[in-house]
Symmetry: C2
Subunit: 324 residues, 2 copies
């Protein structure tokens, strides 16, 4: 391994000088710069980033915690975060919790060990006390953690309103909402609340059905969809996440129901899933790229010592499909 001092020796200068040309800092005469650069090329020198990190107490790495990478929505989020981080010259280390508390704990430990300069937290753990004594910058992605941790999310109340407006363009009598497990404290719950309120104000009956904790197979979405139609046979409007609604559409079709004539459906998230079936599902699209950019910008501001407040929100958008 060739070190900075090897380059210095070869170039006949001091290590500090090499460091200066390496980082394009300070004043170095053109002549010595040339010598140093020649020596670096000659020796095929590559600086050790770890040594640099230790010296600077900064790793240019930020940790991203998500429930899963295989889920279409989180896959998109991860992609967008990685791109935004890359643009700011940060590396992303990814942790998928699979809704497992221990995984999350371990990851937060890594953060504490200063492997990373900051964290973007998008998982839904149950134990929020994990985050009590952390000095490093954290921002939460669509998730409440505590009052010290700023949160970036989509304007879900507005999303709920968009969904309600879509439903109200048709005659519905009974909306069923497929909601996440009640233990998950997410700002996203707001869209269900708002949509329910608006429809109830128009005399529409609203029921909810809850998804099991930590079940991610598509089969489990089909199970819930089937239960929905069994428990509420007169349902004529459904609101839920992309996968939930996709499964409902599948079940509805198998029962010979047509959308939007017999039943209306709005999917929340608007990932690929809603575009991919035999008909495009009407969806509320979360502005994933913008959310990711904002989250990245905010962690970095915190890393750089700026005081930031939050929360921050971005409005979602209606993607008109054929199901509502």
């Amino acid at each position: 391994m060739v070190r900075i001092k090897d380059v210095a020796k070869a170039a006949g200068v001091a290590p500090s000088t090499v460091s200066l040309v390496l980082n394009k800092k300070g004043y170095v005469s053109v002549a010595t710069r040339k010598k140093v650069e020649a020596a670096m090329a000659e020796l095929n020198y590559i600086p050790s980033e770890v040594a640099r990190n230790l010296s600077l107490s900064r790793t240019n790495t930020i940790g991203v915690v998500m429930p899963s990478a295989a889920h279409p929505f989180f896959g998109e989020v991860i992609e967008a975060l990685e791109a935004a981080l890359y643009e700011q010259h940060y590396k992303m280390v990814l942790c998928c919790t699979h809704d497992n508390g221990e995984t999350e704990r371990n990851f937060v430990d890594m953060l504490k060990r200063r492997t990373m300069d900051g964290i973007i937290m998008g998982a839904h753990s149950l134990d929020v006390s994990l985050y009590d004594n952390i000095k490093q910058p954290i921002v939460a992605f669509d998730r409440f953690i505590n009052n010290d941790i700023p949160i970036i999310h989509c304007d879900h109340e507005y999303g709920g309103r968009l969904a309600a407006e879509a439903f109200l363009q048709h005659k519905c009598h009974h909306l069923v909402e497929i909601i996440g497990h009640h233990a998950v404290k997410s700002p996203a719950n707001a869209y269900h609340r708002v949509c329910a309120e608006l429809l109830q104000a128009h005399g529409i009956k609203v029921d909810t059905i809850e998804r099991p904790w930590n079940e991610v197979s598509y089969q489990s979405f089909l199970t819930v969809a089937n239960r929905l139609f069994t428990v509420y046979p007169d349902v004529d409007a459904i609101l839920g996440s992309d996968l939930s609604v996709s499964a409902c559409l599948q079940v509805a079709k198998s029962k010979g129901l047509r959308a939007p004539q017999d039943i209306r459906m709005v999917a929340y998230d608007g990932t690929l899933v809603t575009q991919m079936g035999l008909e495009p599902i009407t969806a509320i699209r979360q502005p994933v790229r913008d959310l990711a950019k904002l989250a990245v910008q905010k962690v970095i501001e915190r890393i750089e010592g700026k005081e930031i407040d939050g929360p921050w929100m971005i409005k979602p958008q209606l993607l008109r499909g054929t199901t509502c």
Copy 2:
């Protein structure tokens, strides 16, 4: 910040002793261990991983390079790799290249700077010379790079055979294969070749249609699907990746074609996408978790200095749907 020497001072011992208890190495009397542990707790000591990394010349981090995280297949792969790495106490830093050579180059640079102990490379770059002078361990994931870099992949020839067998259970006359861009050198091309050969041996006509480079929107899959039906109106069998076939199914339905009576389709990969539409698509499922585990095992063996050979393959599996 509290350092190891602070703990040492507080406990009345030497830093090296603290290091020993920290790493559960060597022999430390129970009494001093207790003292040290008390001091660590008292001071709320958290070791710096960066310093440790520098000292050990090892980061316990490995880089994963994939074309995208938003794509269902790569999302699954990333998830599986992360889980496998986590189990081995490795962190994953993720790079999505978006088929962009510069991104990849930058990432390989990071590797050279020894930020990471190794790389799992699953992207399809065009410039393979990038990998010429790398000392760190690399394994390729479903991708040919060069003869020095071992490769892990699914047994695609077997996959092609499975697909052919599925088609041959029906009467087909004209298979169209949707293939990736010709610049991508992937072992996965084998399944197209093998399936084509087997069907041609039965007198079935085979054509191919090539996907554009670096187009990832679902819209682009629909475009290709539409072109397929325009160019080959008598097509009655289609083989392609999940998204390609999903788009074809959508177009076929819109033309009133029924599967498998009028047209047969087999999707390669077998992600969520094939389960999600209105009918399950018959698919060749890549054993993603096993591939990921194997890839992780092999990079780690290389990191630990073991000589490994490769290539390694794992057999795919037929998922019977209703489309063939």
